[in-house]
């Protein structure tokens, strides 16, 4: 009996050693997906960014030139747009953090566990509606004689016609991407052992001090993740500034989409895309180093 069991167990094990089907599928599939949908597109964009446009036919031709990068990096127009994009994305991220932290912390650490699910659902429901439709909705709210204007227009000094302004773009971003910032903060808050807070109170910390010295540092991983998850799509977005911003709110995403869809200068659009990707990678790397999440939980 015992020998039979051993023999049966041994056979599939030996087969697995000869051809590790499970490993090939479990590691190979994700690798394939990453290669196909992540690495390949970036490589293609990278290749395009060195192509040029034939001045006579206006068509893209294979080439190897740095001209696109040169144009993007030396022209003050594009440099300004990069700085503006960074500024808008940073401001939106900051404002979103002020909203997302209390919400995430409340759901994760204050509310009873049985209400956490439903409240998270409320946070996520907006995601069921398309980004574009939600952005359109803000047009109706922010335009002159729109919802905001008609409700609060009588208050003197209150700006109620915000459409096509920087403020409208920021509002649009905060609304659209807020949930993805709330989620990691919620997760951090939920994992926070309440005894740390009790210990802080016990040792004489006021609620404010306990928050600053214990709660905030211990939920920092969630805050850092939230900031990154919010910042990246905001930085690359073109829909929000296109719908809600004026000409003064053009962001990198807008000029890239313009190059591809209107100017038909794919090589230049590709160069701008590569630069944008590098800027985001550098910014996020610097930010991670600065925030030093490892210091909190590492090793």
């Amino acid at each position: 009996m015992a020998t039979t069991t051993t023999a049966q167990a041994a056979t599939p094990a030996r087969q697995a050693r000869n051809f590790p089907t499970a490993q090939v599928i479990s590691l190979g599939l994700p690798t394939l997906v990453v290669l196909l949908f992540f690495v390949l597109p970036i490589v293609l964009i990278g290749i395009y960014s060195f192509y040029s446009i034939n001045p006579e036919t206006g068509l893209m031709q294979q080439d190897f030139t740095w001209a696109n990068y040169e144009r993007a990096l030396t022209s003050p127009i594009y440099r300004n747009i990069f700085w503006r994009t960074l500024g808008i994305a940073a401001l939106a991220t900051g404002i979103a953090l002020l909203l997302a932290y209390p919400i995430g912390y409340f759901i994760g650490a204050v509310v009873q566990p049985k209400y956490q699910g439903p409240l998270l659902l409320l946070v996520l429901i907006p995601f069921w509606t398309s980004y574009i439709i939600r952005t359109y909705a803000w047009i109706g709210i922010l335009q002159s004689n729109g919802f905001l204007d008609s409700v609060l227009g009588w208050v003197p000094g209150l700006p109620t016609e915000l459409l096509y302004s920087r403020a409208a773009v920021i509002i649009g971003f905060v609304h659209v991407f807020l949930p993805i910032m709330i989620l990691p903060i919620y997760a951090s808050a939920r994992n926070l052992d309440k005894r740390y807070i009790e210990a802080a109170y016990d040792l004489g910390a006021s609620p404010v001090k306990a928050f600053l010295r214990v709660v905030l540092p211990l939920t920092m991983p969630g805050v850092v993740a939230g900031i990154v998850l919010f910042f990246i799509p905001t930085f690359g977005s073109f829909v929000t500034p296109q719908f809600l911003g004026g000409t003064g709110e053009q962001m990198v995403g807008n000029i890239i989409s313009e190059q591809f869809k209107e100017a038909f200068n794919w090589p230049f659009g590709a160069a701008l895309s590569i630069i944008m990707t590098l800027v985001v990678v550098v910014a996020v790397t610097l930010f991670f180093r600065f925030a030093d999440v490892e210091e909190i939980y590492g090793s």
């Binding site: 109170y201 016990d202 910390a205 909190i296």
Partner: protein, 356 residues
């Protein structure tokens, strides 16, 4: 009695339908090591947390140094808690953990450094101040938690099963260590545990709790030798707790029926008592007497210095008896029959005044 650091009066707390603490009265003398002992859910931790200000009583009072605490929050009480899992701040070094309370009290930096240093010496962790808590062993983390609470010199130190996460060997070591530190600093300790041995080792006073009430309060010997309720006797590890009926009584004696026989007790029992629990220590059970309860040996366990016999009496009661293992006069095999007895002065009788 010495002055009280903590006075608890008619303390009552409910969670939903569950009464966690049911009108507890208690005085904790200054400088004492007091242990709340009981099974989980007996209300010991809730009482401790109310003293610390983490829970608020539904009714009743807690006075610390004669001052009524009401709903005062923890950071405005002169108590400090050592948590079950230590709750050391993971993002701070050991020294910063210990100095946390002093910084909140705006103590000058140089003095903080000095006092943290002294605490590290007290708990024998000198030189470990720069480590992060996670780099220390469980026992060391435990001592950091202790130092963090002691450094602010609270009136009362509250300890919530602080040794629960340690292995047996380390626990025994820490028990002695805790007692030493308590005697050295002279601060009142209130210690919560469900381990009666731990309570006996360390405490000046033990408060045995059950179902939110205090069952018995006294020093270790008193609790162990003279349990006042059946619960206390069983919880303190009494091996023989026999059921008895009060057959007869007068002003100075009582006759108890245990199984098939009676035993005359040379002391009065309270009026309402019709049944009682009789506690006999295994080494006080006399084997092979000419006249007594007849029983059969059902099991025999060698325990080093003693041989332990399980004896089934005629009415089915099992009695545990210990004799010196090399005593040839009382050597029996499983299945042997014999008579056993106990002297009235060797037993503790717990009259049940509630019963029937």
């Amino acid at each position: 009695m010495a002055e009280s650091d903590v006075s608890i009066r008619r303390l009552y707390k409910r969670f939903g339908n569950l009464v966690a603490v049911d009108h507890v009265d208690l005085e904790v003398p200054s400088g004492a090591f007091v242990t709340f002992l009981g099974p989980s859910g007996c209300g010991k931790t809730t009482t401790l947390r109310m003293i610390g200000g983490f829970e608020h009583p539904d009714s009743g009072q807690i006075l610390i140094k004669g001052e009524e605490m009401g709903n005062r929050p923890p950071h405005r009480r002169d108590t400090s808690m050592v948590f079950q899992n230590y709750a050391l701040f993971p993002h701070m070094s050991v020294a910063d953990n210990i100095g946390f309370g002093l910084r909140e009290r705006k103590v000058p930096k140089s003095e903080i450094r000095e006092r943290v240093q002294r605490m590290l010496e007290l708990v024998e962790l000198t030189g470990r101040g720069d480590r992060k808590p996670r780099q220390l062993s469980g026992g060391q983390q435990q001592r950091v938690a202790l130092a963090r609470s002691l450094v602010i010199e609270p009136t009362v130190l509250l300890l919530d099963e602080p040794l629960g996460a340690l292995d047996l060997q380390l626990r025994k070591q820490m028990q002695i260590e805790l007692k030493r530190i308590q005697q050295q600093v002279g601060i009142t300790f209130i210690y919560v545990t469900h381990d009666q041995e731990e309570a006996l080792t360390m405490s000046d006073r033990i408060v045995v709790m059950n179902d939110g009430r205090v069952e018995q309060e006294g020093d270790a010997e008193e609790i162990f030798e003279n349990p006042r309720t059946r619960f206390v006797a069983e919880f303190m590890g009494a091996e023989n707790v026999l059921d008895a009926d009060v057959a007869d009584r007068d002003g100075s004696s009582a006759r108890l029926r245990i199984g098939t026989r009676e035993l005359t007790l040379p002391k009065a029992l309270p009026d309402g008592a019709r049944t009682a629990a009789v506690v006999v220590r295994p080494e006080k059970v006399r084997m092979d007497v000419p006249d007594g309860w007849r029983g059969t040996v059902t099991d025999r366990v060698y325990k080093g210095a003693t041989m332990s016999y399980l004896i089934r009496l005629d009415d089915g009661t099992i009695v545990n008896a210990d004799v010196a293992h090399d005593d040839p006069a009382h050597r029996h095999d499983v299945g042997d029959e014999m008579m056993i007895a106990f002297r009235p002065e060797d037993i503790v009788v717990i009259p049940d005044t509630k019963g029937a």
